[in-house]
Assembly symmetry: none
Homo-oligomer: 244 residues x 2
Amino acid sequence: MSSKPDALARIRIVLCQTSHPGNIGAAARAMKTMGLRDLRLVRPKKFPHAEADAMASGATDVLAAATVCDSLEEALTGCAFAIGLSARKRELTHELAPARAAAEHAMQRATTQPVALVFGTEMSGLSNDELIRCHQLAMIPANPEYSSLNLAAAVQVMAYELRVAALGEISAENAPFPLASHDDMEGFYRHLEETLTHTGFLDPATPKRLMPRLRRLFTRARLEKEEVNILRGILKSVRRAQNK
Amino acid sequence: MSSKPDALARIRIVLCQTSHPGNIGAAARAMKTMGLRDLRLVRPKKFPHAEADAMASGATDVLAAATVCDSLEEALTGCAFAIGLSARKRELTHELAPARAAAEHAMQRATTQPVALVFGTEMSGLSNDELIRCHQLAMIPANPEYSSLNLAAAVQVMAYELRVAALGEISAENAPFPLASHDDMEGFYRHLEETLTHTGFLDPATPKRLMPRLRRLFTRARLEKEEVNILRGILKSVRRAQNK
């Protein structure tokens, strides 16, 4: 299995019957900023077009490499899975996933096979005929009073979620430092409990919910190995200070 | 404490010296789709402008209500916390958070106080003079070979992350218990630092990175009010035990 960042190369963005060439250019830019390159255009109204180039800014290479197709079917050739973007709830025949869950799912599949994200027109989204070629629907959670994202803005949000999923979510934050193991954590909790008993904060006769509450807090923080070392260092210093 | 969706009303988007009025309009649209309404413009090149209105689409009300300011300082009036968006790593004087973590942090603070997200110019981002007025930097993880998001696209990504944070996600887990306020946390850190100095674990002459590391850990855990009380109870018991 290849790595997840490589999998971004297996994500295909399909824009169906886009009206404004500026939106195609802006979508290409959005894609490139997030490391996506495979753009397919189903019967665009105007393409190529100077406005598309202008809005693409430094992503004209993505535009130049875009494939123009006669049908969604053609644009999906070779794809294992297609996710349609929808601004509203559609027929219940389709599973409707929030953007984040859909992106995570897409990146998981893309580790082995090409996956398409399919966007409809600016005015009316995907047609029913296009919808039935999608395996899943994804929705970007939006203000119910005004849910109309610009097409390129929707591409940007999905491309961003795909990149975050590819990079490994929370791991972006945690990755540089190894997380504490189960044993590390249990050792820390024993040490903490002993120390709190010594300072008198924990009465073993009436422990109440103290240790479970502290476990809940530290589990949520997902401690790194080095952080457990620091906390145990603190506990040792408490004991030493008490014995002075 | 008010609910998190209400907190979206306490998020302020500040655009500094924007060159293209179309970007201001597109940013207003991005904001409204995610339920944000408070837009402040610091010395925009051209505003109001027909292009801004055109790109705002159904969000011209957000544009009409936007405040034009002479300085970033003026735009931040009444804000408790300002997060600057950066496309690259800047001086190490600022904490640099990934977009998602920054949005979660912002929503937490916005439950009680106004929070600003500050965006620089299209060409060069935030100036150093603007940067020093921000408490934290946030970065949207992007393709290192082409990280240049369109301004409105960056606003869309951040507004989306704010909305997802507001709707709950992780908060589904935390919501039942009120989170500690900024003041609670600062009080805890002061208490922790004093106690560690007393036990001898922290040498004020050579503090190294101890307190920043502990802050990082507890920020990640997003402490509840009651948890801060427990931790401060522990610190008090350490002190009492030492004085016995």
